[in-house]
């Protein structure tokens, strides 16, 4: 049997007295789209940053294609990174650089070269997220929030990663713009076969983009199931969360 694409095994991360991740385990198959739902501050972003090697867990194991991330050398992480793209919550575009250099940043690693070819590459990637060439020379600050998000998505997919992480991709967007992003994520997983891990508290988005949904509560995955079961999971915590009720086991 083949190893899943991403495995998290008993991951623990503490900040001071705060047990953010308390034995989190999760496995994601190749080509699968998984959404992690959970309250604000439940450790969803920390989970992504641990997988990316930006934060080092206190203990546990994280493997991508069977390669250990926890405690890996800078060089080993650098080898893994081309396979992974990340869409940050606030887009995290480099505001001193024009759009085309943002989109191609992962290809050039920040170096200036071959502008004509790179602009072409930027244009192709912008087209994949439904944006035109007229914004190539604009600065990120000149774009609306929804366009920034799409430029950030173009930047994440430009190096053709096998895995993409989405940190609250629809937060701060109106429902229509949010659905445009949802469609893009679905097309990435269904058409190109990218493995996707999304953290969100937008239930409509989770149901649309994910094959399976995991609920994170108090540093652990307390429920992991197919998206169709999200509303009849039989788990009182999940029920309370997906229905957005103030009263229930989660306080």
């Amino acid at each position: 049997m083949t190893e899943p694409k991403i495995v998290l095994d008993n991951v623990v991360k503490t900040f001071g007295d705060n047990h953010v991740l308390d034995g989190l385990s999760l496995a994601i198959e190749p080509g699968e789209s998984v959404a992690i739902i959970g309250q604000s501050g439940s450790g969803k972003s920390v989970t992504l940053k641990c997988i990316l090697g930006l934060i080092k867990p206190d203990s546990g194991s994280i493997r991508i294609d069977g390669e250990e991330v926890v405690g890996a050398s800078g060089r080993a992480l650098a080898r893994l990174r081309p396979r992974i793209g990340m869409l940050f919550q606030g887009s995290a575009l480099f505001d001193s650089l024009p759009v085309w250099r943002n989109v191609t940043f992962g290809l050039t690693r920040g170096q200036h070269r071959d502008a004509a070819r790179l602009r072409k590459v930027a244009e192709e990637n912008l087209e994949r997220v439904g944006l035109g060439r007229e914004i190539l020379d604009l600065k990120p600050g000149e774009l609306s929030g929804g366009m920034q998000k799409r430029v950030a998505l173009a930047r994440a997919i430009a190096p053709r990663p096998e895995i993409i992480f989405f940190d609250e991709p629809t937060t701060g967007l109106d429902p229509i713009r949010a659905d445009v992003i949802n469609d893009l994520i679905v097309s990435l997983t269904d058409d190109i076969g990218v493995t996707a891990l999304t953290i969100t508290h937008d239930m409509a988005s989770a149901r649309k983009i994910a094959h399976r949904v995991a609920m994170l509560y108090q540093g652990r995955i307390i429920w992991y199931g197919p998206r169709d079961r999200l509303y009849d999971s039989g788990n009182p915590y999940v029920d309370q969360f997906v229905q957005g009720r103030a009263d229930g086991p989660i306080t």
Binding site: K49, L52, L54, A78, R81, P82, I84, G85, M86, F88, Q89, G90, A92, L93, F94, D95, F105, G106, R109, G110, Q111, H112, R155, P159
Partner: protein, 266 residues
């Protein structure tokens, strides 16, 4: 509480001193590691010459107006002060010597250091701090670009190169300021003023000024980048980082200036 018990109060005092000491050494350790990592990575590829030139323009070229302004006014004021004080015991003729020694050895490097620290350290901390809180630094890492090589090393090296050049220019302008005031207001003879200036202008003094400038440049960029890089807590955090960068680079400039001076003359 136990405020009345002298033993408890003493232990509390010792604990506070201990905590502060540990914090101080932890900070020194953290800053040293940060500097070592920047230099090590900055000297290994990939290099970013474009970023280095951009920073040279930012730190060196764009600091010229404020540095020149500071130097010319300080040189002139120093000439006037020396003249007024010297005239009490008929020592007005020391003006050119004191202007040249005062500017080159002390005022040039220190004033340039402080002005550039105020201008550059703060903007580095604010820029990198904003990049930190908006996750741009994390994004850069995920895009296979090392922020130490791309952002920090160019700033550190550019400051190391720019400051000696700025001090060289400031020293010349400062001496010129003293000359202008002495000749056009205090009635000195231009050629004899220049002759005395040349007499007291020593290569060793200039060398020390350049060493000081290099040290100050290193600390200015290091403090700006260190505090910016470690920013946490949104806009308020960026504000704190900016303040800390300026205050700590001022302190380091003043302390290292004294150390270099005492080592050279002590």
């Amino acid at each position: 509480m136990n405020g009345g018990n002298p033993v408890v109060a003493l232990i509390a005092l010792l604990a506070a001193i201990g905590r502060a000491t540990i914090l101080m050494f932890a900070t020194i350790g953290g800053v040293s590691r940060f500097a070592a990592r920047t230099v090590r990575r900055g000297l290994t590829p990939p290099y970013y010459p474009g970023a280095l030139f951009q920073q040279l323009a930012q730190i060196g070229w764009l600091s010229l107006p404020v540095v020149g302004l500071t130097a010319i006014f300080t040189g002139a004021a120093l000439a006037q002060q020396t003249f007024t004080a010297g005239s009490r015991f008929n020592a007005q003729s020391t003006v050119p010597a004191i202007v040249v020694i005062g500017i080159v050895r002390e005022l040039g490097p220190v004033l340039v250091g402080l002005m550039v620290a105020g201008r550059v350290s703060s903007s580095m901390a604010a820029e990198l701090g904003t990049m930190r809180v908006t996750e741009q630094l994390d994004a850069m890492t995920t895009l296979r670009t090392d922020p130490y090589r791309y952002l920090i090393a160019p700033r550190l090296f550019a400051a190391l190169i720019s400051l000696p050049l700025l001090v060289l220019i400031a020293n010349s302008i400062g001496i010129f300021g003293g000359y202008m005031l002495s000749v056009y207001k205090l009635g000195f003879n231009a050629s004899s003023y220049l002759a005395i200036t040349r007499n007291f202008l020593e290569a060793d003094d200039f060398a020390m000024a350049l060493v000081k400038a290099g040290v100050f440049g290193f600390f200015i960029a290091l403090m700006g980048c260190y505090h910016g890089f470690r920013t946490e807590g949104g806009a308020a955090g960026v504000g704190r980082a900016t303040t800390n960068a300026v205050v700590s680079s001022f302190i380091l400039i003043l302390v290292s200036n004294l150390l270099v001076t005492v080592l050279a003359f002590g």
